[in-house]
């Protein structure tokens, strides 16, 4: 009896506040917009009876999805989200790997300090970290002031309100998520294997490519997913740092929901975003599974 209640309490909580809301989104994505409260139709209450339920079901259709697939703007925003997420994941990897490598090779006295310095920004507000770039990247901001002072450029560069600012924002906020799994993988790496490779005639650089990278692979993959998955649905970074022509699915969803008040289309966009994410999420879970098996 006690076991049952132990299972039921968290189970029912998650059913009510995770599974049910999800079904509601799915249902509304199949409804039509209506000028009423709630602003969608059809609706069904248990008191309406079974016959009404059949009628309600026949009122649901894929119209919103068809409409979305015919509108070039939504295709563009999906592709542009993918592009931004892929490029910023790659840039994060380029920056994170040398840092993780440096920490893994630091002396044991320094490593905890360096790791704390990586984790500290994670505890600081995400919003503030994004905001901190607004003053740096603006046309009269510090970066432009500095570049003009050094004489590299004569006129300020337009960085804020472009995709470049979004890349910088994503790389900056998600960097710790990439550094930590790569560091964990490099830390497990047995350095004597590298020595063996060099004894057997590898140069340090070929040993790095042939030994270090393959052994750190799962950490790299985990880090890439940890950046890619949230970056794809990102809303705050493109809103604050990107421009009006920075298209990302999260922004489109918010826009449909609050500006256009089209809840059915917003729900359909949410379902599409989720469908795009299913593949990377499943791959990520598999990689984690493999990591656990290696660790065990």
């Amino acid at each position: 009896m006690r076991r049952a209640s132990l299972i039921l309490v968290p189970y029912l909580w998650l059913l009510a506040l995770f599974a049910v809301p999800f079904v509601i989104v799915l249902k509304i994505s199949l409804s039509d917009i209506a000028i009423a409260m709630p602003p969608y139709a059809p609706n069904w209450e248990p008191s309406d009876g079974v016959a009404a339920f059949r009628e309600f079901l026949s009122g649901l259709d894929f119209e919103n999805y068809v409409w979305l697939s015919e509108d070039a703007l939504y295709w563009k925003s999906a592709l542009s989200s993918l592009k931004i997420a892929v490029i910023s994941t790659f840039l994060t990897l380029l920056l994170a790997f040398p840092i993780a490598y440096g920490i893994a090779n630091a002396s044991t006295d320094w490593r905890p300090v360096l790791l704390m310095l990586v984790i500290l920004p994670f505890w600081t507000s995400f919003l503030i970290r994004v905001y901190s770039w607004m003053g740096i990247l603006s046309n009269t901001g510090l970066l432009n002031q500095f570049l003009m002072w050094t004489g590299v450029i004569n006129d300020p560069l337009q960085i804020i309100n472009t995709d470049i600012a979004v890349y910088i924002g994503i790389v900056y906020t998600y960097l710790p998520f990439m550094i930590l799994p790569i560091y964990a993988a490099l830390d497990r790496l047995d350095m004597s294997i590298l020595e063996a490779a060099q004894d057997l005639g590898c140069t340090r650089i070929t040993a790095f490519w042939l030994v270090t990278i393959p052994l750190a692979k799962q950490g790299i993959i985990a880090g890439c997913f940890l950046v890619f998955i949230p970056a794809l649905g990102e809303y705050v970074i493109p809103y604050l740092l990107g421009g009006s022509n920075t298209l990302m699915i999260g922004k489109v969803l918010m826009n449909e929901f609050s500006a256009n008040r089209d809840w059915p289309v917003a729900s359909a966009v949410a379902i599409i975003l989720l469908l795009i994410l299913v593949v990377p999420i499943v791959l990520f879970q598999r990689n984690e599974q493999r990591l656990r098996e290696v660790g065990a």
Binding site: I7, P10, W13, L14, L15, L17, F18, A19, P21, F22, I24, V25, L95, A96, P98, I99, Y101, G102, I103, N105, A106, P112, L114, L120, P121, W123, T124, S125, F126, L127, I128, R129, Y131, S132, M134, G135, I136, S138, T140, L142, Q145, Y172, L175, I179, M191, I229, P230, G233, Y235, V236, L240, L253, M254, F257, A266, S267, A270, L273, L277, I281
Partner: protein
């Protein structure tokens, strides 16, 4: 053999400069006398004065703390229960669905979580205020807690629990006297994680909060969406200071307690 080369030193310097310079700039410019945030016009603490006289910020900081404390605490209880069920619960009906519901919120985009919860609250006619934010934050918080706690639960020796049961403990007493002390560090880090995520959340809170309950991130966001704001720089500096002191203290405590030999 570890090699620390000039390459490592350079990449660490560049990396940490990138991570910390923006925040240092923010802190420095919070003491700027000019309202033009990019022009330095001398030292001043006027933005702090203005911040403290603005009661809106105090109000929303209070809401944020209340929501954070409540949701992190409920999330810790539910998440620990969920972790216990996952690791010790054996087989039960719908176990796959259960573990799916624990892991899915961790990777779910915030816009979807926020939208779906809002649609739920509207469908059941629940008024949106601090309470609905607590419900939302508890839901994703308990998933993080359960992942942290189940990692700890899966590594500890189950025979300790069995010994307690053999020696006449009730299952509840065995949990309280044996299991809980062992998983306590994970429970505490789970609580801290849920608390921090709650304080930090903007997107989900802006979906599920009503006009009466503005959290600090919502208020910061509405202040900065139009551009840089020196008052927000002052507020950010305070928040960065609190987090830094907290994290440094926590890591010093861990370092100190880890060095002490285990008593008992």
């Amino acid at each position: 053999m570890k090699r620390f080369t000039w390459f490592n030193a350079t990449s660490l310097t560049i990396g940490f400069a990138f991570l910390y310079l923006p925040m240092i700039v923010l802190v420095v410019y919070s003491f700027n006398a000019s309202k033009l945030v990019t022009v330095w016009a001398g030292f001043s603490t006027q933005w702090y004065v203005q911040l403290f006289t603005n009661s809106d910020f105090a109000q929303s900081a209070l809401v944020t703390l209340k929501v954070g404390l409540a949701s992190a605490s409920i999330a810790t209880i539910l998440g620990t229960m969920a972790a216990y069920v996952m690791i010790r619960g054996g087989r039960f009906f719908g176990r796959t669905l259960f573990s799916g519901m624990i892991y899915a919120p961790l990777v779910m985009p915030e816009v979807i979580t926020g939208l779906s919860l809002l649609l739920l609250f509207i469908a059941i006619g629940l008024n949106r205020d601090a309470f609905t934010i607590i419900l939302a934050h508890t839901t994703f918080g308990m998933c993080y807690v359960s992942v942290v706690v189940s990692a700890r639960l899966s590594t500890f020796d189950r025979s300790l629990e069995e010994a307690a049961l053999d020696l006449g403990c009730s299952p509840l007493a065995a949990f309280r006297l044996v299991t809980l002390p062992i998983i306590a560090p994970a429970v505490v880090s789970g609580w801290l994680l849920a608390f921090t995520l709650s304080l930090d959340d903007l997107v989900i809170a802006s979906f599920v909060s009503g006009p009466g309950a503005t959290t600090l991130p919502i208020q910061i966001f509405s202040a900065v969406r139009l551009g840089v704001n020196p008052e927000i720089n002052a507020l950010s500096t305070l928040m960065i200071a609190i987090v830094t002191i907290g994290v440094v203290t926590a890591s010093l405590i861990t370092k100190y307690t880890a060095r002490r030999p285990m008593d008992a």
